[in-house]
Amino acid sequence: MDWGTFIQYGLGRWLHIGSGVMWVGMLYYFNFVQVAALKAAAADGTAAGITKHVAPRALLFFRWSAVATWVFGAMLLGGSFLGALLLRERALVPIGVGAWLGTIMLFNVWVLIWPNQKKILGMSPATDEEKNKARRVAFLASRTNTMLSIPMLFFMVASHGVFNRATFFF
């Protein structure tokens, strides 16, 4: 194996999966833990502990691991990148669907979740009304990503060998 192959497929896959674990791990933390925890904390006046000290740190790793996951995924696809995203070749359709789901999720992180979380957490100026709207948009985008992560993981990880012609070379 030459160095180029090792970096693209060895390091690329390792870093893609590692950053993906971080991204989806943070996403599941927000959805399975933090939403319910914030509700309970708001009731006893301790929400600031989460919104001040936990959420900004979690969001930092969340949004940048999303970028890293996508970049290493693109690196892993290499010359098959366009073929996968355009669903041009049969063998690339399963991973192409996974790549599309991941791309939509990345869009949701940077365009819908992060700008609205900044308003909610007071990192960018917003009126109470804007904050309420931001809360709903960020919540639904986050829940959408949780929903999309299920088929995304299937097509990224579990579909190898499931479809007859989906033989991968990477």
């Binding site: 959805n31 399975f32 669903l87 049969r90 063998a91 359709v93 399963p94 669907v97 639904l140 829940r143 959408t144 949780t146 929903m147 999309l148 992560s149 299920i150 088929p151 299937f154 097509f155 579909s159 499931v162 479809f163 007859n164 012609r165 989906a166």
Partner: protein
């Protein structure tokens, strides 16, 4: 109708249904 994404179970079940839909679509395209 209530938005299924408002509940955690609704979100997970929607994800599983979406997986099944994509699975059938992709199987029809690639065969298998």
């Amino acid at each position: 109708m209530k938005n299924p994404l408002d509940s955690l179970w609704g979100t997970v079940i929607s994800g599983v249904i979406l997986t099944a839909v994509f699975f059938v679509l992709v199987r029809n395209i690639v065969g298998g």
